[in-house]
């Protein structure tokens, strides 16, 4: 069974304090790993897709990286507007498989 575990559950940072969120996964052949951002009362918003180990993607202060067992979302010099829940999801190659999500990391950035 495909599984995604995210850590920590919650993270509180001072503005400008860089950190990383972790997403560990178990999947029977990774087709893609996805990062989403979710603000309170809204639907998840797509950020990145990573397809193979060693791949990296960047967007503003966020950089996502991928290994064969985990992905990291690095946040450099975060701002209060980066506060949100960050969700990781995986999709397997086998058959017609949907995205399997982790429970997310709640990030709070304090000014």
């Amino acid at each position: 069974e495909d599984q995604v575990t995210q850590s920590p559950e919650a993270l509180r940072l001072q503005e400008g304090e860089s950190s990383s969120l972790n997403c560990s996964y178990t999947v029977s052949g990774l087709r893609g790993l996805f990062w989403y951002r979710q603000d309170p009362g809204k639907g998840p918003e797509f950020l990145f897709t990573l397809y193979s180990a060693g791949e990296e993607k960047e967007k503003e202060r966020l950089k996502a990286t991928l290994t064969k067992k985990e992905s990291f979302l690095h946040i450099t010099a975060p701002k209060p507007e980066d506060s949100a829940t960050y969700l990781c999801a995986v999709q397997a190659w086998a058959g017609n498989t949907p995205l399997v999500f982790g429970k997310g990391t709640r990030l709070s950035v304090i000014a």
Binding site: Y36, G43, F46, T49, N96, P98, V100, F101
Partner: protein, 112 residues
């Protein structure tokens, strides 16, 4: 600006009543998902469709939940009868050829 549209945004209903949630996927997307989100369980897949055909609804309580795609522009999720434990946020998402899924704003359901 292409987006997934869900209605209603909020629904409060009494236990035992029927609830229908609607979703308009992004034009051209051939995959539609229904997820349920709670604090305890996070995002759980209820059902998904490709080219309007149901592929997996194993996450759905079959005795009370049903999901359909009457046409390419409409997906529905129905609960009958509703129970308090069904209270959650229900999300519809659409995608194309197993790539990333784009989510709607959700329907917040409260069953009292």
């Amino acid at each position: 600006d292409a987006r997934v549209t869900q209605t209603p945004r909020h629904k409060v209903t009494e236990m035992g009543q029927e609830v229908t949630m609607r979703c308009q996927p992004i034009l051209g997307h051939n995959t539609v998902f229904w997820y349920r989100q709670t604090m305890m369980q996070g995002l759980e897949l209820l059902a998904y469709f490709r080219n309007r055909a149901p592929l997996d609804d194993s996450g759905m309580p079959k005795d009370r939940f049903s999901a359909e795609m009457p046409d390419a522009t409409l997906a529905t999720l129905k609960i009958q009868p509703s129970e308090p434990r069904d209270s959650a946020v229900y999300f519809c998402a659409s995608g194309s050829d197993s790539r990333e899924a784009f989510f709607g704003q959700g329907t917040r359901l409260t069953v009292v």
